[in-house]
Amino acid sequence: MLKIENLHARVAGKEILKGLSLEVKPGEVHAIMGPNGAGKSTLGNVLAGRSGYEVTQGSVTFDGRNLLDLEPEARAAAGVFLAFQYPVEIPGVNNTYFLRAALNAQRKARGEAELDSVQFLKLVREKVKEMGMTPELLNRAVNEGFSGGEKKRNEVFQMALLEPRLAILDETDSGLDIDALKQVAAGVNALRSPERAFLVITHYQRLLDYIVPDFVHVLADGRIVESGDAQLARELEAHGYAWVRERTPAEAHA
């Protein structure tokens, strides 16, 4: 589904990703862990198409298409979703209106019929129920005045509604207390399916107690330096990131 090969990317002239390779198949959950500054968020932003990230080498294909050639909105329509580390507030834009504009734009891009307001509201009500979302949040401006937890839950709610094929969660756990973390994880778990893949970017192992990954990768200095299963995350928690560096000095600095 997603194939990243030897990806190099720069931000403001500084090389952050230095030859990252990763393959994700449908139904898999991959966790990307790593110390601050390793390039975790850069990876998410490059995949979603944020401007200011310059890919200097390597390739990213999604279902066989060159993902890097697509505008962010085309990537979304193709099924890529980025849950933001810092969801933005959009004063004056109602959440429901925003979601309908997004969903219909994606459907239109895929050649599917757009939903009218009745169909859309029905869908929203179903998702609200499924995800345990606070309905009042839908009538407010997008993320405006939302608490940190509400913002992250809104990201997961958007994901549920837009039904992406690849969901990238960029430090969705940051700034959440344990209850909010559990709610967000439950939302993500409800969306796990054989067709959908997840890339869970996180600094801490804690989130992975609730979203149990199939694969864990350690990102350090712009490359994946170690891969394993969920057990790897627990070892990292016990030993810290320095432990990985010591174990793989040759690769990390190759």
Binding site: G49, E73, A76, P87, V93
Partner: protein, 439 residues
Amino acid sequence: MTAPVPFVQSMHDAALQGRLPGSGLAWLDTARAEALQAFVARGLPEQRNELWKYTSLRALAQKTYAAGDAQASSRAVDAALLPAPALQEPRAVFVNGVFRADLSQIDALPVGVTVQSLAAALREAPEPLRFLLDKRADDDDDGFTLLNRALAADGLILKVAPGVEVRDPLHIVHVGVATEAAAAFHLRSLVEVGEGARLRIVEHHLGAAQTGHLTNIVRDFGVHENAHLDWTVVQQAGADATLLRRSKVRLHDDAALNLHALELGGKLVRHEIRAELAGARSHLESRGAFVLHDRQHADMEVLVTHRGRDSVSNAVWRGVAGDRARGVVHGRILVQPGADGADGSFYNKNLLLSPDAEIDTRPALEIYADEVKANHGATVGQLDENVLFYLRSRGVPLEIARRILVRAFCSVALDGMEPMPLREHCEVLLAEQLPEASA
């Protein structure tokens, strides 16, 4: 002697040709002649005038205008041109500067509301208007107010008797229709809302794209003790229209004015609002937005003077300019001695959609009283890239994302607008005004 300015010359000629309503009345003839003289002497406002700093009239000075439209009272106007809300409700319609009883609908207004055209008032009973029209040039005048005094041929005289609550909005519709040559229309209006009365007016400006007309409106609003005036301006003047307005508002004790302005049309558009919060606890709320394209120029001057104790003024204005458009916002709060406890605020945010667009904003505070609260703030910026990316990452194409954000940016100016159908009408107009019309 320098060569005469074409604009000034054409106005001077207009004054000599036309026979204005009420001419023959000695005091009126004198006031008009003196105003014309003063106009010719002063000319058009110059940019060294603080209130015209960012609005150049050099191009206008080279233009000439016919003296009104002789056929204005009989020109056909397609009813479909009138704004939908105005078709169901009382309305006073002006076509090319002339009041049209045949297109207006003022019979259903409640007892205690009188609506009369200035032309009719000058024919029938001019004396009560002497206080308004018999004036000498002073420092508050500029070229356009003098011109208006010299040449005003029509306008609206609207009075609401004390205690009368007018439920339905009264629409005041100005329609521009193309004529052989571009013409100038000068209107002088008066709105008096009596003690404890309530009135809601909706002012529309509409016009065909290619009229080239100039409309120069001067009006006075008196909102008396405990009265409430709700005033919405929906400006969609024709694409090459020039529209100049001076509105003087006086709020007495416990009076309130709630103003909303949506400025979308015209080539050169200006509204100078001079609000005097004369009475104790008088209250002004003003919200407005302009959205400009091409080479449109809009200048909003919101000049608020607090004189009454505990008077309150709040202003929230938004500006959007694309292409080579230019916007000007000048928000001034002046708190005079004695206006203790006054509370004034002026907030203006602007958005530039093109590198060639420009918006100048100047908030100003002058305070000469005690225990006053005053706040102001102004910004000029661009759409936030992070927010745009957020929308796009959810699948919303760039152009639609821009539209959504610009609309949201402006919609703050419509907050509190009533009734709902009017607000919806304005939302639609706003959406239509934004570029890339496919949503």
